[in-house]
Symmetry: C2
Subunit: 303 residues, 2 copies
């Protein structure tokens, strides 16, 4: 009953108001798997270059993360360089080198193909479709992340894959770009018609919202004093949310109420350090304590 | 045990993506009192011109709103003209005519002076200080709203009044301008040193946060399909929050958990129509129903 996740492994050069770091391991599937594996076993599909070796593998060791689907190719890993301004809400991309990611054609190991839970990370929608087609049966649920680049440039392929998606996880700007609606409820109605019956909107420092036919769940983000690097926060949220969902084996409003907490708590560890470090060092007890503190923060009374 | 509120009465010319309205009754103390009076009796101190008469008074009739402190002067009411873009988060001011507000010198009726709860709406901090000095005794708590205009231009007077304030209610930009800190926890620490021991941060479409020494409470805003005009939402929130606080007679974290809901629910009615209309027509049952719906939306599970 594993959760299969497809995405990118990358080296990032990061600059935020807190400092600079070069050649930091990142990429959507790293953040996602380190986060989701706290709740449920995860299988990873991605491509790495020759600059990914034993040292990098250590990050995943001792965790229920299956790396059989990690393809190694000649060349270098995907490389991204970005800088964040004071408000930390959006990065300016300085450099993008696709490297081995350029020719990435996911080929799922046989053991991955029956997985009941599938997360299609933010890659070319044509590849997302291809992965879906490799599954031996239609997964119990399919979740998908995308971005404006694909919304604007690969609309047809994206429409095809969206038609088969249950859960769409995007940020507010992406939900608006995809639906053409600024208002979240109107955006959900439009996206609902495209396929996904569950829309999860990531709002960065303002938290997250889950919109479904049965109702809406919304939480603010955890208010932290030390936000160092927001890179990977969205993927970490997705990992916590979907990892919790996979573990519970259900996808109803009551589970979403807990899954949105799981995602929010995990993302709060990511932003407290550069790269994967915050996620790596968070202990079970840290997660428990922060979940309790967050529950206290958002617990509101009736009138 | 009344709540005393000082602020402005205005006529607004409003343009939003939903339409245009001219000469709409508004001003901070109108939104505040219509909202707070749902929870607790309120005394109003403000100035109006000759263009404010029986028709305008009707809005307040049949509600526990004391208008003895509404001073009538020759001339016209304060007049503001503003336009909102697609995102509704900030208005562009096209015209401001202070009119009778220019020479406003609040003179509290004798019956107002012993009030235990005082809300100093967004006016010149010198006048806020003057009102505080007219109270027969130090109120049980003093709340204050201000804006960047006073933060930048009247820092000394603002510092003097802040030193005597318990609860500061501002938006995120104002909290940052006042404290010089972008991070909310750091901003609270700085503001804490200026006087207020409770910081209420209004985040518009993203909800609100209460920061205290005992802990933090945060809620998202209610997600609505029909947001027509955000004018007065912040004052309505303050009215609901402080009206609820005055009614409960306490100011601890458990009360803040319910007060933040009261403010959020009331503000959601304001934004659904132009001017005071949304607040005027909301019934007791509407408030109950929306409070329930909102509680459901923000109710999150543990892990």
């Amino acid at each position: 009953m594993t959760l299969l996740a497809v995405g990118s492994v990358a080296y990032d050069d990061l600059e935020t108001p807190s400092g600079k770091r070069e050649h930091v391991l990142g990429g959507s599937v790293c953040y996602f798997s380190l986060s989701s594996s706290r709740f449920h076993p995860v299988q990873v599909v991605a491509v790495v270059g020759e600059d990914f070796g034993a040292e990098q593998l250590q990050v995943f060791q001792g965790r229920p993360i299956d790396l059989e689907g990690l393809e190694r190719r000649p060349g270098k890993c995907f490389h991204w360089k970005g800088v964040y301004g004071e408000n930390l809400s959006e990065a300016q991309t300085l450099e993008t080198h696709l490297n081995v990611f350029q020719d990435f054609r996911p080929d799922l190991p046989a053991t991955y193909r029956p997985s009941p839970f599938l997360f299609l990370g933010n890659i070319d929608p044509t590849l997302q479709l291809d992965v879906l087609g490799q599954m031996t049966q239609r997964p119990q649920w399919v979740a998908l992340d995308t971005m404006n680049y694909w919304i604007q440039g690969a609309g047809d392929a994206l429409a095809k894959v969206l038609a088969q998606v249950d859960i769409l996880l995007v940020n507010e700007g992406e939900a608006r770009a995809l639906s053409g609606e600024r208002n979240l409820l109107k955006a959900f109605k439009k996206i609902r018609e495209m396929g996904p019956r569950i829309l999860v909107v990531k709002r960065g420092e303002y938290g997250a919202v889950v919109l479904t036919d049965e109702g809406i769940v919304a939480v603010p983000a955890i208010i932290l004093e030390d936000v160092v690097d927001p890179t990977g926060a969205g993927d970490t949220f997705a990992g916590g949310f979907l990892g919790y969902l996979a573990a519970s084996g259900k996808a109803d409003l009551e589970v979403f109420r807990r899954a949105i907490i799981a995602g929010t708590v995990m993302a709060s560890f990511t932003v407290q350090d550069f790269g994967l470090r915050g996620l790596e060092v968070a202990t079970e007890q840290d997660i428990k304590d922060r979940t309790q503190a967050f529950s206290d923060m958002i617990r509101a009374g009736g009138l």
